[in-house]
Symmetry: C2
Subunit: 404 residues, 2 copies
């Protein structure tokens, strides 16, 4: 996959799950096999094809055939945003039992896996989400229709894709605990998926992110992230693009490059610097903890990073996650108070704004203090108006203090 000869070997093996979903192994360790010995490439589970009509037989013995319909999205005229309504997810079947971990490797010798991954071991694996909020159902025509026949109310199939990325076969690890070598493999997987999903018909933006912690609703503790390929620009991206274009018109310069330059000149909120990367708390941070990590060079997205930038990123990324784990003091019995976090890769969209937007990672937390969440209530959720109870400088000071 990586063509640079100095890069560590990552072997990508594509396969298909029993219901037709794609799965990709990204192997970095001997024997680099996803084949005969330790990995089963086939998925022998008796899953129905996911585009097959759902057949149910009623109490009266009458058979009902329900064709699979994909998710649809509607245009919110008040905000200019597309909202997918994934009601098709309500037809979910074959959910794993509550105690099963669908991201664990298959048990050795088992007829088939309880979970999603047929291999008995893996390094990093990516697969299509089974009940995806964004999905193209074959045969669906991707065109605008009007809800209730009203011109104002546009609706379209919510094409695109939702993928899951498993960071480690070990359910007890967190991403912060993987080796730099493995982190590098994850970066390769993100870059690969960004390139590949960017080619999918109708996709406008690829978003790689991790939700970590029960406080933000994560119930599956196996270390994993998600990759969404949207058929529109994310509203946050739309907003940044509008700001960046206005800045370009006014100054002729790139907004995100100017922001980084200003943070470096000031130095007051710098969290760490490496050869290729700079981490800082943004001047107008809105979350109780918030870090932006940007490459020194103008880079549009993850695939555009050089080998040296990727290698450096692996180390820097793990260091930042470690600082999130140490941000709050440990409990009295020594148990660490790991901050829940969302880690979000802001990449330039597939087509638009590639000169105006610039790759950066945003890591942020909703924990204000141990046991105390910042809730997104009236001001934030109702009005979109953020109010912070701390200052960017306090956040930066603490992040510097907890360096490894």
């Amino acid at each position: 996959m990586t063509t640079d000869s100095s890069a560590p070997l990552v072997r990508r093996t594509a396969t298909t799950l029993a219901d037709g979903r794609d799965l990709f192994y990204f192997d970095d360790s001997e024997p680099y096999v996803s084949g005969e010995q330790t990995r089963r490439l086939d998925d022998p589970r008796p899953l129905p094809g996911r585009y097959e009509p759902v057949v149910t037989i009623g109490a009266d013995g009458v058979e009902t055939v329900q064709p699979v319909t994909g998710p649809t999205m509607r245009y919110d005229v008040l905000t200019g945003e597309w909202i997918p309504h994934a009601a098709h997810r309500m037809n979910r079947t074959h959910l794993p039992p509550a105690d099963a971990n669908p991201l664990a490797p298959a048990k050795p010798g088992a007829a088939y896996s309880d979970g999603e991954i047929p291999a008995e071991d893996y390094d990093v694996v990516v697969f299509e989400n089974r009940f995806s909020s964004l999905m193209r159902v074959p045969g669906t025509v991707d065109e605008i229709t009007h809800v209730d026949g009203e011109d104002l109310w546009q609706q379209r199939p919510a094409v695109g894709r939702c993928e899951v990325i498993c960071f480690s076969p070990d359910s007890t690890k967190s991403l912060a605990q993987v080796s730099p070598r493995r982190m590098r493999t994850i970066i390769e997987a993100w870059a690969d998926r960004t390139t590949e999903l960017g080619k999918v018909d109708g996709v406008e933006q690829v978003f790689c992110f991790e939700n970590r912690g029960q406080e933000i609703g994560v119930t599956l503790h196996h270390p994993h992230g998600q990759i969404y390929a949207y058929p529109y620009l994310m509203p946050k991206t739309e907003t940044m693009l509008r700001q960046a274009r206005a800045h370009r018109e006014r100054t002729g310069r790139n907004l995100l490059a100017d922001v980084l330059a200003a943070e470096l000149r000031s130095g007051r909120r710098i969290v760490l610097e490496s050869e290729h990367w700079v981490a800082y708390v943004p001047m107008a941070a809105r979350w109780p903890i918030e870090i932006h990590l940007a490459p020194r060079r103008d880079v549009a997205d993850l695939p555009a990073l050089t080998d040296a930038e990727r290698e450096d990123l692996a180390t820097v990324y793990l260091e930042l996650l470690g600082r999130m784990d140490r941000f709050f003091p440990a409990a009295e019995d020594g148990t660490p108070t790991k901050a829940p976090y969302i880690s979000a890769w802001h990449q330039a969209p597939v087509r638009e704004g590639r000169d105006d937007l610039r790759l950066h990672l945003q890591i942020f937390s909703i924990l204000r203090a141990p046991g105390k969440l910042k809730y997104l209530a009236g001001s934030e959720s109702g009005g979109g108006a953020w109010i912070s109870d701390t200052t960017p400088e306090r956040i930066a000071d603490r992040l510097v203090q907890v360096a490894s």
Copy 2:
């Protein structure tokens, strides 16, 4: 306060708390007194004036005088939003003990109240929040400065005001349980505060809202809401204004009026209709439960409502809150599963967009099912991209089903 002679009498009495904050009683019941008999208008608590410098004496006996600084806000160049950083709130003093209810009426005959309200009884009361995120400190010059001397980084005092509104003297009630007469008084109070706060120097928008439920972080169960007066347009309002202006340019018509007309034509998502109001689930609803309530007439804000519209609103508002309480089935032991909610009044700003924006109430919940929250994780909080697991039609059907 109300000049319309047919309106029920609401008597507004202004007073000042010990530290200089404003407090307003809105009385609707005999003896309409906030005076001698049952109400003490003066606040005899030994509170320091809130603009007085904080004096602390160190272990070495040296006195430190720290002048009170107000909140500041910074301009986020990536999003075009102002973010107040209310770090001054960290100097909070005299917090009530954890078991005290600061919104309860004063105990009869006590030297002074444990809480914020000096009267021994009240109907509806509004007062300035003690540690306000938006506040003008006298003597502060409201001008733009530059953080770290960088042109890109603007900072200003976060002037404005945050007020608390108590809906009832009874801590055990919820807003849904007050009488239509009391609800009408609350509407009068909201309208009064919208008018008055709109005159405060530097205020651009007034936002009345209620956060209800532990799931959204409410720890104080006394029925209350909040009124924020922002020195900028809320980002949600900015967005709606941009959409409404584009719609006006394209069609010559008001966007929100067209939306209401389309919902009425379709009828599919109508929740209730009264003489002056229509409640519907918006065509592109993003929350697990979401209701918009709009007057039939073009109205910019609460003060612009007629007496008849206010009277009708009192009944309709209570009916909608009752449906929120019944939306989810009760627990097996009969305990109601009351949906946590945010109730948000979208009003036209003080100066801008008064012809393009139109008053409407948005009531929404983050509860997907009993015990199951919709978390705002990577897609929503990182990318601003909402994905719904239900459909507007399902929400509307349920809201019609649970009519009283």
